[in-house]
Symmetry: D2
């Protein structure tokens, strides 16, 4: 099963895809995911007569129905430096924070405890076709394409999604104490177009993640990574996320990035970011640059 939502700009409409057919979903999507994880399909209404591919080609400037966030996640958290590449690349950047000889990224990569950080609330997230943002005070903001897992408050995985941990890398690089400002702001996070149930994903460690940054119709960056390169296992990340920290049902955990474009791929107003995960879909989001009032 996969769930998604459409909007007409005023109301949202929620759906479940079951056996290739699209049905209305009459219950809260998180409830439906929990129920599905327990073996029950609940809340299906009528089959709807829509062309999903055609709808996926529309964005927030289209009139009529278009995609939006699959649901409103109460909290989004991230796990960092879970791929070897991220340890390396982060540590290569100019002046890096070090503790003794090692960079803080090298340290966390090798440590038992993962990096876990607060990323977003629902109102800071956007969906497919909706604009992610570059902070007005950032010149170097990058997408971080990741596999997102939807969990219950007890840490059970009830869904997978594509998620973009958009990050103001220049602010983050200046001082690790600026991490929240580089990570949490309006339009800092996109996810969707779907949340896919675990039975459709089977092995989350054999997924191909692809990133393309498109400017004026041309890809200015392309990269990919397999989730088999994820060093921190998802259950380990979840274990630390929920340790003495009760998260609400439907919380999303971003499992870390393994694709790191350089400084020359800094997002600009008007760019389009396209992230694909094999078997999960393709998340496309335009980019807007915010202003500092």
């Amino acid at each position: 099963m996969r769930i998604f939502r459409l909007t007409n700009g005023e109301s949202t409409f929620q759906y479940a895809v079951v056996d290739g057919k699209v049905f209305e979903l009459g219950v809260d999507p998180v409830k439906a995911l929990i129920s599905y994880a327990n073996g029950k399909v609940i809340g299906l209404g009528a089959e709807v007569n829509i062309d999903v591919n055609q709808l996926l080609s529309r964005d927030y400037r289209s009139s009529g129905l278009r995609f939006t966030k699959p649901y409103d996640p109460p909290e989004v958290w991230g796990s960092g430096i879970s791929y070897e590449v991220s340890r390396r690349r982060y540590s290569e950047e100019g002046e890096v924070a070090r503790i003794g000889e090692l960079t803080i990224y090298e340290r966390v990569y090798d440590a038992e405890r993962p990096e876990i950080f607060f990323k977003a609330t629902a109102n800071r997230c956007v969906g497919h076709g909706e604009p992610i943002a570059v902070r007005g005070d950032s010149e170097w903001t990058l997408p971080e394409p990741e596999l997102g897992v939807v969990i219950t408050s007890s840490g059970k995985v009830i869904g997978y999604t594509i998620i973009d941990d958009v990050s103001a890398r220049d602010i983050e690089a200046e001082n690790p104490l600026y991490l929240p400002q580089s990570k949490v702001y309006n339009g800092c996070c996109a996810f969707g177009p779907f949340v896919v149930t675990p039975d459709e994903v089977k092995n989350p460690y054999s997924l191909q993640i692809r990133l393309r940054i498109i400017r004026s119709g041309k890809a200015i960056y392309e990269g990919e990574v397999s989730t088999e390169r994820m060093r921190r296992r998802i259950d380990e990340q979840i274990k630390y996320l929920i340790r003495n920290n009760t998260v609400p049902d439907g919380t999303i955990l971003m499992t870390g990035t393994g694709i790191l474009p350089g400084r020359d791929a800094a997002l600009r107003d008007g760019d389009v970011v396209e992230i694909s995960i094999s078997g999960v879909g393709t998340l496309t989001t335009p980019v807007i640059k915010l202003k500092v009032e």
Copy 2:
């Protein structure tokens, strides 16, 4: 005006103190604070016949009415290294993260951009007489007594409160990337007993903050600082908090700590933390040690 809430363990009851008298408050406390900031007292009901001092002496183990959080804050954020003492003390701790020669704390202290971090949601906060927590995996957790400001989404200050940014210093010290884990967990934040309107505080830069850690009836730590030692002005902190980051009305910003007990003051199960701010009140919270399941 000052607002507070009591609970009987099942329901909560909200009040406003006006001219020394306690009245029921019939509207949402944040709405009442916004209205008061605009010159109007709203939502008052009957005067209640309670002995506030006697109620302040009770805690979460008392039966009957007792204090709880003054309201449910949608988000709590913190600002760090805003006092000179914090810059110094943090930088003295064993192995500290450095960028070049300077510690990350020294850097942020001198930088234009303050440290801003996500601290808590309502369910992670406790009120007066309710237990703050030490993570099960922390051996060195400290209270951070601070002046809290309640703001609107446009950054207007509508109230002041005493707030405790309880922090797992050992986890934080290990790697700055662990800051969220040291800061955000169940029982990581206490505030209250009251939210006090700006007219009662007048000058937020001339308040005396006092901290006492009490163990078996004896103070094992006492410290104090004046908010005049706050280097980062509150409006500057707020400016960065809300830059491209829409916070909900009623968000609390913790303005930083100027009292830093050492490693020997690590909180233990059964301790009591007492924080006073002149003219604002005294926030008392027992301490419990969580378990790692």
Copy 3:
């Protein structure tokens, strides 16, 4: 436009039919009707892929999607003796209440003030395919097929529907003071399958209303009447309904019956009642007999 709802037994799904196509309806149906009356179509979602006729053939015992009430009406009111036939037939029944020489029905028929009575709340109403009821203490209960008008609190007509003012005629006949008991009980009212907007009805005084009572597959009663025989005009009925009596938006007024089956058509458990109004649709409801506990 016409609106309706389906249920899967747990959730309800609301729809609007526009230009012959069925769309999801993302806003409250009463809001949609008010908006439509003001010239705006609002809240449409995706087109749904359903066979309305096939769905109309199902009832409350079917598994899967089926029809239910088009919306939950806050109040349902009735107007009585608005057709000449009702004046006559009611007055012919055995011992009838009289004031002076005239029966109370003759009196009200000729009077300036119409009979207006409270009929039902949402929980006492059923929809297409759902069972209407015969009270456990009634041996002679009849359907009263009527044109229903959906109005706003200011009395504006925003929709038409088929409505069945099921009545325990024996209880009513015993004493006019028993009217509420004959009229108001669980399952006393059915309406639907659709609410149709005024532009689809055009002239409410030229509609053909047909009633069939079906027992064991055979029609044991058939009757019909045209709304042109309605003596009390709808706006006059509404005028008295809302005089000094504020009704909520979405209130339904039943405009009176012009078809009166006799005592031999008394509804029995297992019967099916079928009411058609030209251009509005056909409302089919099974009948169940309640028990007196």
Copy 4:
């Protein structure tokens, strides 16, 4: 226990009187009454410092706190002709509806089945100090002072109150089919000031009900009756009310009137109606005359 509510014109505040002390009530009043009937006092907050008698002297024109409805009843129903006096007086009025030789009132008085009628919803009810209304098209409207019982959906009595079944007697007298118009309109029902739990009433059949209609400071009518004269027992009334008719928890049943002022006591704009029931309290309501728009 007795419950009541105050309003400041914008918010309402609910209270419970226990052992002569007034406490805030933190739970829904109907829930509190159900719980109390099951032996548990729930939802009490702080004692409030109010002078109930002084508050009872205020009305809807007073600024500051004043009484309002004790709660919002989902439905109010009435039972008629339950006192012998009502049978007689009603039957004496000019042209009365008769079935055969007997008036409909004489008939219902002697019949097994009582008269049960729908009276009001919450928005049509007022509380102590709030205005009851005379319809714009009625010249002869009278108060009907009654004992009200608050019941659960299963018919259990969880409270008693004073209730005024204000009735447009001229409209009702014209034709029994006009009963709903004489009974149901804006401001047709007042109840309060309190709902009293059954343990405080003990014997509902030994209560003295007193009515005074005051005009320009002088009583123009005074009457009284004891509930021992009630012929229809309350449980019998309830039995018929809920027979095949599910009412919501907190529904009020008016148990009938035994005081019937004549035509010369017709209520006028500016009158005050005062109803007392021994041990239950005194309900005072001003009178306003509505207009026919």
